[in-house]
Symmetry: C2
Subunit: 228 residues, 2 copies
DNA sequence: ACAAAAGTGTTCACTATACACCCATGC
DNA sequence: GCATGGGTGTATAGTGAACACTTTTGT
């Protein structure tokens, strides 16, 4: 190890954990229990530990904050924030990760998740601590873009899902209504996007819907373009 | 300042400086003059200084490495790399930036740029130091994607350019031939992409071409999709 | 029978592609 | 004139939005 005369940083990972509940696009937030920004809402996150890569820390924090184990979440890096004054405690750089979960029941006691709650994503921001409104906005924009080009939407759904559920994800995240009939054709026609399981599921009323799983595709071609 | 029991990092910025020269998509590399990886090619970059944000460091490094002043380069964050063993000197996290320049003559003496040179981007990587092959691949993929959705291609051109020059950028970066006639119509027809200056430029032989500047658009809609 | 939701067929407008053709210059 | 590259017109195929219509269930 040679001399290192450079600035020293702490490195954190912040999570933008998203889901769709009902018709709402929501994000997981925690109430801060320590200064600075005591009592304010913030994105869950924490510092890297020895031997950890960024993705390791993101996976660990996600498990801690949700209290859920054995998830196979979609996790993708968004970008890094390191403005000199972004944290009053000193120079802290944070790497934001986008995490996508299906609408699962969350443990509410005995874990870090006790202080966590879902909030609907609103334009104009949520008044979060630090620069977390900006981070949230960047992550949301990335999620909206990924819905166009990747099978990300399937990560919002459980293992088996109907086309109507998949469409609800697009409508909630993009905030626009889509034609159910045309969406059905596009989704089932895109190579590798979804594969039928052969099973059916009956809604409260109406014709049963075919069930699908996510397909092998890692990119959607052609993309599912959102309306102008 | 309260106690901070966490891991300490050095934070670097690495640049993927791209241009199109002739028909080739090229990247700026430097030969390392110190250990580790002495003598190997690497991406230009350096550590953050006190008071600097990431983008400040990227702009400063770009000016230092190219020896060019007064550029208004396109600069965009790619992603961050922080694997525990990526730098043998210790824990160094690096934030990669994509920089796009037109094909300019580079100073070759008296500056850091003396040790810099352009190399064509090849599939399979260039055998760079550290994890720079991976960083380069990620940045190149980002550039290819941005050509579809943003006016990024204009950043590869000088202030005034012909449609044929713009097309050469797409062909070089995507590595595919495009129909000159259809490309002309698309590029001039996309709202806010390019605006005619009214001037003309004569090629060595053939009809003079109209000159354009980049337009006000920040996104291309509909996107200029690359062929499957 | 009726309501509700799933899924298919069809129309029509628009867009992309291929390529014939014309234009403006240097030699 | 001829070669060369710039730019326009046009036929054709393909794609996407709108929506009528059929299917399959629960009550």
């Amino acid at each position: 190890m040679i001399e290192r005369p450079h600035l020293s940083f702490e490195l954190a990972v912040d999570l933008v954990v998203c889901t769709v509940r009902g018709a709402a696009f929501e994000v997981l937030l925690v109430e801060r229990g320590v200064e600075p920004y005591l009592g304010r809402l913030a994105l869950p996150g924490g510092f890297l530990r020895a031997g950890e890569d960024l993705i390791d820390a993101a996976v660990r924090e996600l498990a801690e904050e949700t209290g859920l184990s054995g998830l196979d979440p979609y996790l993708e890096q968004v970008r890094t924030y390191a403005a000199p004054d972004r944290d009053p405690r000193g120079r802290v750089a944070t790497v934001a990760y986008l995490a996508i979960l299906p609408d699962l029941p969350m443990p509410t006691a005995g874990t870090d998740a006790a202080g966590a709650r879902w909030e609907p994503v609103r334009r104009g921001g949520l008044g979060l601590a630090f620069d977390h409104d900006r981070i949230l906005a960047d992550a949301v924009e990335q999620a909206r873009r990924l819905l166009e080009n990747t099978p990300l939407a399937t990560a919002f759904c459980r293992t088996e899902f109907t086309i109507a559920e998949l469409r609800a994800v697009y409508e909630a995240v993009w905030g626009v209504p889509l034609d159910p009939r045309n969406f059905h054709r596009k989704a089932t026609g895109l190579p590798g996007f979804v594969v039928p399981t052969g099973e059916m599921r009956s809604p409260p009323t109406g014709r049963p819907a075919a069930l699908f799983r996510r397909g092998p595709a890692t990119a959607l071609y052609p993309p599912l373009q959102r309306p102008a």
